[in-house]
């Protein structure tokens, strides 16, 4: 901005080329791929940390792409996104396994549904293999004896969605993106001249105003509110659809496969799947809820998923349950752009023509995790089509180095690590064997972990059998010590979620 010498002025609001609203997997991938270009980027998130929305509570499947309606944006970006995960995991160092996935037909009644899955797989160009019930039972002995066949999709896989989102975000930040957490988008600022289609000039947040030529809407469950502020797609609504899960302790129950049932009209059904941590997860159901923050688990929901799961794997044991959680899908009502396709729950990925300066993403429900990197590339294509000239940074670094994960190392490597830094010798979380060294490294990382849950999402501490009962006091102490705070200020997830109330009388 041009400064006139001598004339006192209001301090100019910070000016960026692009502002990204929302720090789920979509915002993180967009930030990461855009950080490659010579752009000044601000990335905001209303919560205290990144990855606290849908990206934090889902099935963690990198879908092959046979389950989505052919001809939709979902199908196209699912297939394109799926192909990007090996390189992503290699560059960003998070857990991803392309283990293949099964869609399982139980009893002869489901054979027809299995053929429909096959037809979609063929139409979407997804590799697959049809296997007999007998072969399926051989590959997964714990599966229902009623299994009549399955579609095996070799390109499907499982990932650590927390790891992927945080690694991508960190890579964006080290490549120059400015991240502001606990900063909520409230409204747009517009350019004064009104002749042409209105041009966005920036945004208003609860932490002040920020100027930019482009705003990217990656607000997940709130994408409709953001686009309506811009006067775009008034008919578009998001209906949160809750999905509940249970997690089973790997020490009590193990299953090495990803098993989907035949899909229902509203969801892919209740799956029983392994995770990159070896614990099995079971879920989700699909229930429309009015409240976008209502990620509560319910008794009915848990019964529903348990019954559904028993159809696939009859020998599941309730005693193995160590955690329950729920996620909210940002279900949309957007028609597929191709008018020939009769589908009304598609992604929105567009630069609307009625205004200038908005890249509009909406309805990014499943397979949104899988598609996220492809969505980021599509955003870049759209910006280029809109006349934005993007110059690559000569020094862009696609690598986000991994940090030591104690439990993944051999005894020899563990010994070596402890010799170099003794803090890796102190185990804080006994179930997942997370060490003080790992926790401290995350507290001081490029996207610092400064709440209990932030540490949990980065290290998987507290996710095992004891669910934090042993580690929590130690983690609070470490956070306070490393951040120079009073333990009373440490929160679970930011804001008013304080963990402690006051000192005891004798310590007052």
């Amino acid at each position: 901005m041009h400064e006139t010498p001598g004339s006192p002025r209001e301090p100019a609001p910070s000016t960026y080329d692009i502002i990204i609203v929302g720090a789920g997997i979509v915002g993180a991938m967009v930030a990461r791929y855009l950080s490659r270009y010579q752009l000044k980027i601000l990335w905001i998130e209303k919560e205290a940390d990144i990855c606290m929305g849908a990206s934090a509570a889902n099935s963690a499947i990198v879908h092959g792409g046979y389950a989505v309606e052919p001809g939709t944006l979902k199908a196209e970006l699912n297939v394109r996104g799926n192909a990007m995960w090996d390189q992503l995991a290699e560059e960003l160092h998070f857990s991803f396994e392309r283990c293949g996935t099964y869609a399982v037909a139980i009893g002869s009644e489901e054979q027809e549904a299995l053929r429909a899955e096959e037809a979609r797989a063929r139409a979407n160009g997804v590799p697959y293999q049809l296997i007999s019930g007998e072969e399926m039972r051989r590959r997964e002995p714990q599966i229902s004896p009623e299994t009549s066949g399955a579609l095996f999709c070799p390109v499907g896989g499982v990932c650590d969605p927390w790891g992927a989102t945080i690694a991508a975000g960190e890579n964006a930040v080290t490549n120059g993106v400015t991240l502001k957490r606990s900063t909520a988008f409230l409204d747009f600022i517009w350019e004064a001249d009104t002749n042409k289609p209105p041009q966005i000039a920036g945004i208003v947040t609860d932490r002040g105003e920020f100027r930019a030529r482009w705003v990217i809407n990656a607000a997940g469950l709130y994408a409709d509110e953001v686009m309506h502020r811009a006067g775009v797609r008034e008919e578009f609504t998001i209906t949160p659809r809750r999905g509940e899960y249970v997690v089973l302790d790997r020490n009590h129950f193990q299953l090495d496969n990803v098993l989907f049932p035949m899909p229902s009209r509203i969801s892919k059904g209740i799956l029983v799947t392994t995770t990159v941590h070896g614990n099995t997860i079971v879920g989700p159901n699909a229930e429309e809820v009015g409240d976008r923050e209502d990620a509560a688990v319910t008794t009915q929901g848990l019964e529903e998923i348990w019954e559904g799961a028993l159809k696939l794997v009859p020998n599941l044991d309730r005693h193995a349950i160590i955690a329950v959680f729920a996620g909210l899908r940002p279900g949309s009502n957007a028609p597929t752009p191709d008018p020939k396709i009769d589908y009304h729950k598609d992604f929105v990925i567009e630069i609307p023509e009625s205004i200038r300066g908005l890249v509009n993403l909406g309805g990014i429900e499943s397979p949104g995790l899988t598609a996220a990197p492809a969505i980021a590339l599509r955003v870049i294509e759209l910006l280029k089509q809109a006349g934005e000239v993007l110059y690559e940074k000569p020094n862009w670094n696609p690598i986000r180095p991994g940090r030591p994960v104690f439990r993944h190392l051999s005894h020899a490597e563990q010994a070596e690590l402890v010799r170099k830094d003794s803090r890796y010798g102190r185990v804080i979380c006994r179930c997942e064997a997370v060490t003080e060294g790992e926790i401290v490294a995350e507290i001081h990382a490029p996207v610092p972990a400064d709440t209990y849950d932030a540490i949990k999402r980065r290290t998987w501490l507290g996710t095992g059998r004891c669910q934090g009962a042993f580690d929590m006091p130690r983690v609070v102490e470490l956070l306070a010590q490393e951040l120079g705070l009073n333990p009373l200020e440490i929160t679970k997830r930011g804001g008013p979620s304080k963990l402690l109330a006051r000192r005891t009388k004798m310590r007052d």
Partner: protein
């Protein structure tokens, strides 16, 4: 520190301390205790209330004082300790891998191992409490550590789910500290902890206990704002119309303890699905030769004195194993079984020959409370081996019956030792 030990004890709670002492006294030269914490003592260090030692010392001591008596002796006898060190893995061949911020990574070989890792608490998910997941939901043991060790209050207005001992003890402790404990909810029709704790910790402080009640839902997005309590019927189904919203900022869970056996499983130690702990004989030998277990790692105790006693027995057998190798029993061990109204019996096997040297205490939990005089009896099929009378039997209180030298003949000829608890 050496690389080879006669006996390595994992965990330094009352079970581990007693095992190490007994092993040393029985003649094992090189005895090592490995403890994850910075100090010896295990959970006792956070149990600053009294009630410990009545059986063993005839004195009513606070937890840390009780532990200190054993810790002093550990030092006096020259038992080695490795603190701030977590055992990561043990093998069937008794190789131990441990890591420590102070002494680094170590690999040790033991002639005998005593597992004394204690237990952990059941959590919210294990009992599947619905609702949001805000901060302010803690196990009673976590709260105990915060208040008694770190000096912080987890909340000001508290509801406790479960009438376990730690929960009741924390109800009193938090009240002392100025918190308001609204009530204790228990899903069962009876108390799950000791009656003495009900009297001393709830009744004396006017804290209501609601039996057959549970938490239907947790309310609050960031921090607990309230819980919805509800009465349940015999099938634990909520009774409509009995819901009550109780404003609070904290929900403590005291809903049971689970022996901590992931290390044991790595070494192939066979676990009893009812106790969650290893199958053991009267010397606390597991199915893996040279691996012994004592204390809450075997089954959950309510009195520390009995943990100490089990630790002594385990340590002594471990020392014998380390010095003489496996003993060959002349008479095959006799299995114990849970008969009428008994949930489980520990030990799972009894070598009759042991009765010529020592008494063997069979420990068990009753299924249903019997508020009347009862027989605790041991049968071999139709033959009565021994029995004793008790004034009542309650699920919250561990029950014992002792086999003595005079029972040797009957035990030796038994096919099984079936224990039952029936009205007089």
């Amino acid at each position: 520190m050496k690389e080879h030990y006669d006996v390595v004890v994992i965990g330094s709670g009352p079970g581990g301390l007693a095992a190490a002492l007994a092993a040393k006294r029985a003649g094992a030269d090189d005895v090592l205790i490995i403890e994850r914490d910075q100090e010896l003592g295990g959970i006792l260090l956070q149990c600053i209330h009294n009630g410990f030692g009545v059986e063993i010392f005839g004195e009513d001591l606070p937890g840390p004082s009780y532990a200190q008596r054993f810790i002093n002796e550990v030092h006096d006898l020259g038992i080695e300790t490795l603190l701030d060190a977590m055992v990561l893995e043990i093998t069937r061949e008794r190789t131990i891998y441990a890591t420590s911020a102070q002494t680094g990574f170590s690999k040790l070989q033991a002639k005998a191992i005593v597992l004394a890792m204690g237990c952990r608490e059941r959590t919210r998910a294990q009992i599947r409490i619905p609702g949001m997941r805000p901060s302010g939901v803690y196990t009673a043991g976590t709260a105990q550590r915060w208040v008694n060790v770190e000096g912080y209050m987890p909340g000001k207005q508290i509801v406790i789910l479960g009438s376990g001992d730690i929960g009741m003890i924390m109800a009193r402790r938090l009240t002392f500290e100025g918190a308001k404990v609204e009530r204790v909810l228990e899903v069962m029709p009876y108390l799950s902890g000791l009656s003495r704790n009900y009297v001393q910790c709830l009744l004396d402080f006017d804290i209501p206990l609601q039996l057959r009640h549970t938490v239907k839902r947790i309310i609050g997005r960031e921090r607990v704002e309230a819980v919805e309590a509800v009465a349940v019927d015999e099938q634990w189904i909520p009774v409509p119309g009995t819901e009550a919203i109780i404003p609070c900022d904290t929900l403590l869970l005291s809903v049971g303890l689970i022996p901590e056996n992931e290390l044991s499983q790595q070494a192939g130690v066979r676990l009893d699905p009812v106790t969650g702990g290893p199958f053991v004989d009267e010397g606390y030998h597991t199915n893996i030769p040279g691996i012994f277990a004592a204390g809450n790692v075997v089954h959950v105790y309510d009195l520390v004195d009995w943990v100490t006693e089990a630790g002594f027995a385990a340590g002594e057998s471990a020392a014998r194993y380390a010095m003489c190798g496996a003993e060959t029993a002349r008479i095959p061990p006799i299995p114990t079984t849970a008969g009428e109204n008994v949930r489980y019996v520990v030990p799972h096997l009894v070598n009759p020959e042991r009765l010529s040297q020592a008494e063997v205490r069979l420990q068990m939990r009753v299924r249903q409370p019997l508020e009347q005089p009862v027989w605790i009896q041991v049968h071999d099929r139709e033959t009565l081996v021994t029995r004793r009378a008790a004034r009542y039997a309650r699920p919250g209180e561990m029950v014992n019956v002792t086999l003595r030298e005079r029972d040797y003949d009957k035990v030796r000829q038994s096919k099984e030792l079936r224990v039952s608890i029936v009205p007089h």
